[in-house]
């Protein structure tokens, strides 16, 4: 049980050629489920390694609880790590792999053989690997190996779990189940958990709080709700949410909002406030979530413009439509039974109250960072 603080951490590779992390700072509270979300190469795995102590920081501080652990070796930090690449001991059975952390000299006093067996059974059942206990890693499928790796991290009760894409290689059904189970375990055990993933859906569904990382830099820190509803910049706006938020060029004036290529909508209170903050340049970028695009009958009076349906992707109850207006391409999320056919022309409108406003140059959210 401990908080984790990362302060101004930087890390380079290849003598400065690759800047993996640049001045990263965030705090994880005790017993929090904290997600690090970012695309491949963002620096998530590097961050895990630094917090675990597997690699040393180039600059900055790492605190676990109120101890400065920046120079400490991993075993002194009392954290458990589950690697995306499993890193199982190939010459040991699954049971032995799971038992290994509990048999470390540091912990020998706490864990009797009996306690170890009980714990192993507990975790194995949780992860659905009970029948695999006497097999060797080479006899397991990728999904099974990943669960063993996760199990090995979970057997202990450390100060914190550091999980690096721990369920990435499981098939969709299993991933879904494991997500629910992980969230539940974490809640029950109250152990601080840091979980990395490139999947924004996973981060949103698991995290108490999260950080969005891109190219080694923090884009935003906050609760999933905050990040989804008030993305700090266009990167976050498009990265969180599937399909990605539509970003449109627009210009504001006292009476309305002119969306380039689409049409004009009446001004809202927010748009007027933003206009005031913008001083001279009324150009902005407006973000609209796919489900906020409304489809109407072709030629409907209240339509902003007409659009052609280029693609229909049936997901189930909802479908994703790709809509074209001239050279612009937008994506909407629509109920399948209401969705028009591919090639049809329909009317399109958007409720301006649902707009997100971004600065045309800095790309930052204008409601969070005015002017």
């Amino acid at each position: 049980m401990a908080s984790i603080t990362v302060q101004n951490v930087s890390k380079q590779y290849k003598g400065g050629e690759v800047q993996a992390l640049k001045d990263v700072s965030f705090a994880v509270q005790d017993a929090e489920f904290f997600c690090i979300l970012g695309p491949a190469g963002a620096g998530k795995t590097t961050l895990i390694k630094l917090i675990a102590g597997i690699e040393a920081v180039d600059a900055g501080k790492i605190m676990i609880g109120d101890r400065d652990v920046t120079d400490r070796l991993p075993m002194e930090r009392d954290v458990a790590v589950a690697f995306e690449t499993y890193a199982l001991y190939p010459q040991r059975t699954v049971r032995q792999n799971l038992a290994f952390p509990l048999q470390a000299p540091v912990r020998r006093s706490e864990w009797t053989n009996e306690a170890i067996e009980t714990r192993i059974t507990e975790i194995a059942n949780l992860l659905g690997i009970g029948e695999l206990l006497d097999r060797y890693p080479r006899q397991l499928s990728g999904g099974q190996r990943q669960r063993v790796a996760l199990g090995r991290a979970l057997v202990r009760k450390p100060k914190a779990y550091l999980l690096d894409e721990p369920i990435a290689h499981l098939d969709a059904k299993l991933r879904h189940r494991m997500r629910g189970e992980l969230k539940r375990i974490q809640l029950e055990q109250g152990i601080t958990t840091i979980y990395t993933t490139p999947d924004q859906l996973e981060a949103l569904s698991l995290a108490d709080r999260m950080v969005v990382l891109n190219h080694g830099k923090i884009e935003q820190v906050g609760t999933p709700d905050e990040i989804y509803k008030h993305p700090a910049n266009i990167f976050v706006a498009r990265f969180v949410g599937d399909p990605p938020m539509n970003i449109l060029d627009a210009s504001l004036d006292g009476g309305g909002i002119s969306l380039v290529g689409l049409g004009r909508l009446p001004a809202t209170r927010t748009s007027k406030e933003i206009l005031v903050g913008l001083h001279n340049s009324p150009q902005v970028k407006i973000g609209v979530r796919p489900r906020d695009l409304e489809l109407l009958d072709v030629g409907a009076a209240n339509a902003l413009c007409q659009t052609e349906v280029k693609h229909v992707q049936v997901l189930g109850e909802t479908s994703i439509l790709t809509l074209t207006v001239g050279a612009l391409e937008l994506r909407s999320r629509t109920a399948t039974f209401q969705a028009p056919e591919r090639g049809a022309t329909v009317g399109l409108t958007i409720d301006p109250e649902r707009f997100h406003y971004f600065d045309a140059n800095t790309q930052r959210n204008l409601e969070l960072f005015p002017g």
Partner: protein, 366 residues
């Protein structure tokens, strides 16, 4: 434009490993056809038999009116896009795409013309002189596709071509591949374990499990009318909920009853149950989207405890623990809030599916 027919196709590997069991498929000309199923379901083996990379143990494969069982891959005029791209790493993009043509010793001009056409078609002309090694996954896959289409094959086979790409790239490639196939018009068979891919791309999907064909239909069909319990549970995210229950009759109405719930069935289902006498036990299937919740009990509502809440932006997934210890997933509005372990009441709405407990077949599949 070639049609593809599989008649009673079996594949048994050495050591009596049954991979494909009595498969019958009829794929139309120009169709984008998906073979969907979990690993080990037989989709890879099927694709490789179509390509000629594996021998057919029993049965027939026809391209239009030609029986291809004994033809070598090179004689079948198929092209394949591989999951791991399978590019020739020491050749440039140009040479990779040109490879199939060089094998056939085409003239330099013809090769050049075709390679440029393929590159242009895919929008990768700038990549032509580059080495394969520095390319991103998406680019490598495009080169793989280029190599496949340069010969203008009769049938295009795609083996999980985008599974190794990043989420964003995958979403984009899905649209691009559909677009590409429409422009080419080539009959295409696409295999994947990802139901989203199959649903969003294919005109028809064949769902397979453990070597057996479960159902063939359009995306809407397999979603709304799953033929088997497997299809019901495999298609759709989050997955369908299942529970064993008994059929009881009371006052002319039918009910699905389990220790956790007592649900009235629709008149339509009732009519069908009447026609099929003697059904006592069945397996009920209902999608998370078909369940609503309320804090207070309603008629025939199902009582449960809030187990886990997973907010996902557009919606929230609520995992509920029912009286019988079963976990049911429910789709609730994005701002839904509830205390963990608090009591909640579920309303099961149509469509409710009933599956045979032994065969798993949807009792009322037409």
């Amino acid at each position: 434009m070639t049609s593809l027919t599989l008649k009673g196709v079996w594949k048994i590997y050495e050591g009596n490993v049954l991979a494909v069991k009595d498969l019958n498929l009829s794929i139309q000309e120009g169709e984008f056809f998906a073979l969907l199923g979990p690993s080990g379901c037989g989709k890879s083996s099927t694709l490789r038999m179509i390509a000629g990379l594996e021998k057919i143990t029993r049965g027939e494969i026809w391209f239009d009116h030609t029986l291809v069982n004994d033809l070598e891959p090179r004689e079948r005029n198929v092209a394949m896009v591989f999951e791991t791209y399978a590019l020739y790493p020491y050749l440039s993009v140009y040479e990779n795409i040109a490879f199939p043509l060089r094998i056939r010793v085409w003239s330099k001009e013809k090769v050049d013309q075709k390679v440029r056409w393929a590159a242009d078609f895919l929008g990768i002309t700038e990549l032509l002189p580059m080495r394969v090694r520095g390319l991103s996954g998406g680019q490598m896959q495009s080169v793989g596709i280029g190599r496949a289409i340069v010969r203008e094959p009769s049938i295009l086979l795609m083996d999980e071509p985008i599974s190794h790409l990043e989420a964003r790239q995958r979403a984009r490639m899905r649209e691009e591949l559909v677009d590409l196939q429409k422009r080419l018009g080539t009959t295409s068979v696409y295999i994947t374990h990802d139901q989203v891919e199959a649903m969003t791309m294919a005109s028809r999907i064949a769902v397979m499990n453990l070597g057996e064909l479960q159902q063939v239909g359009t995306p809407k069909e397999v979603y709304a009318r799953p033929r088997t319990e497997f299809v019901g549970g495999f298609i759709g995210e989050p997955p369908m909920n299942f529970a064993d229950c008994e059929i009881q009759q009371e006052d002319g109405r039918f009910f699905a009853v389990s220790p956790s719930f007592r649900i009235p069935l629709s008149a339509e289902l009732g009519d069908k149950l009447m026609a099929r006498k003697g059904i006592a036990k069945t397996r009920l299937g209902i999608r998370p989207e078909s369940i609503t919740v309320s804090a207070q009990p309603t008629d025939y509502s199902v009582r449960g405890l809030v187990y886990v809440l997973e907010p996902q932006g557009e919606r929230t997934i609520l995992t509920t623990r029912l009286e019988n210890g079963e976990y049911f997933l429910v789709e609730v509005p994005p701002d839904f809030e509830a205390e963990t372990d608090s009591v909640i009441h579920l309303q099961f709405r149509e469509p409710i599916h009933l599956f045979d407990t032994a065969s798993g077949i949807n009792l009322f599949y037409e």
